[in-house]
Amino acid sequence: MTVLQVIFLITAVVTLGGAVLVVTVRNLIHAALWLILTLFGVAVMYGLLSATFFTVIQVVIYIGAIAILMIFAIMLTRRVKQEAGSSVNKGWWLAGLMSLVLFTALVWMFSTWSGFQTTLPVMPANVDMVKVLGTALVSPNGYVIPFEIASVLLLAALIGAVVVAWERKS
């Protein structure tokens, strides 16, 4: 077993363990922190695949933005420290069923996927992959239309936030 495999196994255990704890712990803040650990584990996975850009983006977006926003929302909720009531409701069996179906479908999909047999393409040396990604995002032959649509969507959200918070002077 190579060192990379050992690191991968440790990361996988931590990621999955964190994910289980997210849904089982009773304290909401603790759940959010376990979620951060899980997301961090995913970032390490990207790192192991030498996708440095995605590693960093995972940390910036999921931990730096989304997780901190969630923690804020939880902190501003009252009675967060009281752990009353059951953590599942009447529809728990439905959620369980759906998860099982999804899990089976995913396992079936991966078992028939041919991608496992293909060998890794060798990266050409001295090529800045970030530059390649950036060019692809804005080139007409690449992904410029999805990129621009996403930008317009984000701009609309930004303007919407300004309009909602606008203080009208009568």
């Binding site: 190579t2 060192v3 990379l4 803040i29 603790h30 922190l33 951060i36 440095t52 850009f53 960093v56 983006i57 940390v59 910036v60 931990i63 730096g64 933005a65 997780a67 901190i68 923690i71 804020f72 902190m75 800045d128 992959m129 970030v130 530059k131």
Partner: protein, 403 residues
Amino acid sequence: MSDPVNSIAEWLRMILSSWGLSEGLITVILGVLGVVILASFVLIVDIMLVWIERKIVARFQDRFGPNRVGPYGVLQPIADVIKLLIKEDIMPNGADKFIFNIAPIIALAAVLLLWAVVPLAPTIIGADINVAVLYVVAIGSLGTLAIIMAGWASNNKYALLGAFRTVALLIAYEVPMIIALLVPVLLARSMGMQTIVAAQSTWYIFVVPLAAVILFISSIAELGRTPFDISEAESEIVAGFHIEYTGMKFGLFYAGELLHALTVSALISTLFLGGWRGPFVDQVPILGPVYLFIKSFFVYYLIMWIRYSFPRVRIDQMLGFNWKFLTPLALCLLIVVAILDKLLVGTSQAVYVLVMLGANLMIVWATVLILRKYARVERKRIGEERPVAVPPDTESSELVGQE
């Protein structure tokens, strides 16, 4: 023998492979060793920073500073560390024990992690990744997380208020900081630190001084230092997020804060002051760290100079300054630099630098003009008569009339 770090690494690699260890394991061992050595070195510098900071603040405030333990008081930080270690460790009632204990560790680790991408010499760098600038931003969010955890776990309203204020500050000033970071990335055509340093045949401070100033201001805010230290405002919320911390746990926050200042200085030096560049550094790579630390300490001195010369700003002034002034200015600068960079393709280095510098100065001039106009309006507004206080039995219609 001009590059001792890499020669020692090669020598160790040979010894380890003669012991019959596998290639992957040797890489891991050398990597761990490198991390331990770099972190220890930085932390030892950090201990000395306590003395430097106290000595310099004393000079600014016209007093002597520590001068009892050792010559010029240089052993004072060691006495401080011993004091912090033997202090009682208090756990506040109702605190979240695990989060309370882990927060200072994350706070210090988030600072240490930044040193992974600081190039110390042409051949000495922790990890020369191609997204180093983005990595700096990502690690910054871990620091934010540590502060939230500390503030929440302390079970103290002042700590929580301090944490909220800090996060508002960090998230707000991240925007101009990232835009200012984009400018050297744009000029060097890369997010890798070594490439950025290698591209600075003219230091970027002479090409885009305005970007350096914006990064400097927003970095001071990210550090939470005066004039942006509303997260620890003693007169308002006692000490902010670390109010409940005692002993070495407080020591970790304190060490992290000082080291963060030096780290930010090192990053600014790398991005705008040429990093390890200096005379004879190509022949003798070990001179690189010396040049880098000289530049970093110069920037660190500027940060201290500002810290001990300016009063604290109010939270609304601070956020207004960021959103209404710094962010539009940074955006404007980025657009101008991007357009000029495209227009100046193919011109000589001297023309390129002069035009860029001229454009920067033009933006500064326009900004000053707009600020003067704004200040005139603001003075007039303040000079106007204000609504006077009225007794409570006055009719509400009269109140409206007076406004």
